[in-house]
Amino acid sequence: MNRQVPKPSISSQSRVADDVWRKALVFRAHAVTAFFSRFFRTHYGFAGLAILALLVLIAIMAPLLAPFDPRRQVGESLMPPSRTYPMGTDNIGRDLFSLVLYGTRASLAIGFCAALAALLIGGTIGALAGYRRGLTEAVLMRLAELFQTLPVIIVVLFAIALFGSSFWLLIAAVALAIWPLEARLIYGQFINLREREFVSAAIVADLSTPHIVLREILPNALPPVIVQVALDASLAILIESGLGFLGLSDPNMISWGQLLFAAQDFLNAAWWMSVFPGLAICIAIIGLNLLADGLNEVINPRAMRAAIGLAA
């Protein structure tokens, strides 16, 4: 019965799929090496990565690096920076240097977790909207637009006011504020990519939908997403330190923002309480932004730089 209608055999179908997959893979491998070489050629991308690596290292090794237990009173309060206490002590007599080192953990953790959460939430919504189209698309994108219009701080504060501010709630609150960025990005990428050949090839080869989404579209949509994640992390760190500064962060953890909160009452007596944690925040944000810029340079290289066309 099957012989009457010659159908392409299963094996040839899968061979087509394999072929497409293999070509995509080769292309991708090539892209990856080119990616890394260009990335390292930009000075700032490299600098950003270096700063970030340093911070991560500090976060992991904080207990080893810190000379004192940050939560215990180890000296007189409000002492200026000295050899024993490189960043001075705070109002309770805790070593500020250790505090700042430990603070790296919380701040980075929240930064990354919130960025990832935003990616997950925003990404799923964006992917759904981009793939399904139609009503789903319209509704979801309008929702994203709405959330994007609301000022970030307000959203976060509102969420905190209602639900409290423990570690995970903080992450949720920040993610709630920044998911639209990821959503729109991924949505845009999906719109772009679904029209391209390898997607059509995959559809023709009858590959299942999740396969198409996960293995074909997603890897190629990835580069700008990585840039956005870096930017999101920087934003998340900024938001968290803002919350800490307002005294609304998780009181059980040490974060740079909270250190600034403590500093607020002692600005006159102890400038170091404000300067060092703030500096740490700055460095983290600069590092992430440089990294994002470096990555962006690789993805959208600017062929025309420098000379601006005002010369007669």
Binding site: P301, A303, R305, A306, A307, G309, A311, A312
Partner: protein, 282 residues
Amino acid sequence: MTREASATGRLLEVRGLTVHLRVGDEVVRAVDGVDLFIERGECVGIVGESGSGKTTLARAMLRLLPPVELAEFSGEVVFDGREIRTLPDAALQEMRRQGTFSMVFQDPLGYLNPTQRVGAQIAEALPSGLRAAAVRQRVLELLREAGLREAELVARRYPHELSGGMRQRALIALALAPSPMLLVADEPTTSLDATVQLQVLETLRRLHRERNMALAVITHDLGLVAELCDRVYVMRAGKVVECADVFTLFDAPKHPYTAKLIELCTRGAPQPAAKPADEAVT
């Protein structure tokens, strides 16, 4: 301010012009040692495919290159006896305001300021110091000269409110404002519909005659060249491969590339009737 020759010298003389662009890590040799000249009142065509460097050549000659990094920019460009490639900015601006050369670009929408009315943009090209009424008068005259009958209407409009042909003519009017001795037109008809192309062609021809203005037409459309030009330069990959007067070019092209270009242009045209030579034989 020294002038080598009097008004009997060539209008424009280019010697060994080289423009190498730096794009990313590569160097693109857009123009590679080009020599050409334009006599006063002449109409010269510069033809070639896209990427042959003809636009870059024109822009480099008039020092209107876009903001790209230049790996090399050398050679001599002498306009009306003055070397302009190395002229300082202020002097060049002065020259431009005083009726020397002008350029009409290919994409009229992109080359007109979208937030300014057309009339105002043309007025900007007029010499300063005129009274407002005189400026208005002049703008309308220019628009009419460029072939726009409803000059008042056009002058008041913004570029996106005009059709492609009208925009192109507005750009022409703008280029004519300082009464230039040389008008360079880059693909003046390419982005237009067929009927409008003919009209603009007519306008250019009329202007060339009436103003006794030298015209340089840059195009890949050999038909246009055949209609308008006295002499033609053929460019390929940044170099001039052939230069001849228009009749010689079409009848007896010396370079194989030129021959190919001509063949491509006339392909698809109806076959000509049997040549007289054949008939004579029978």
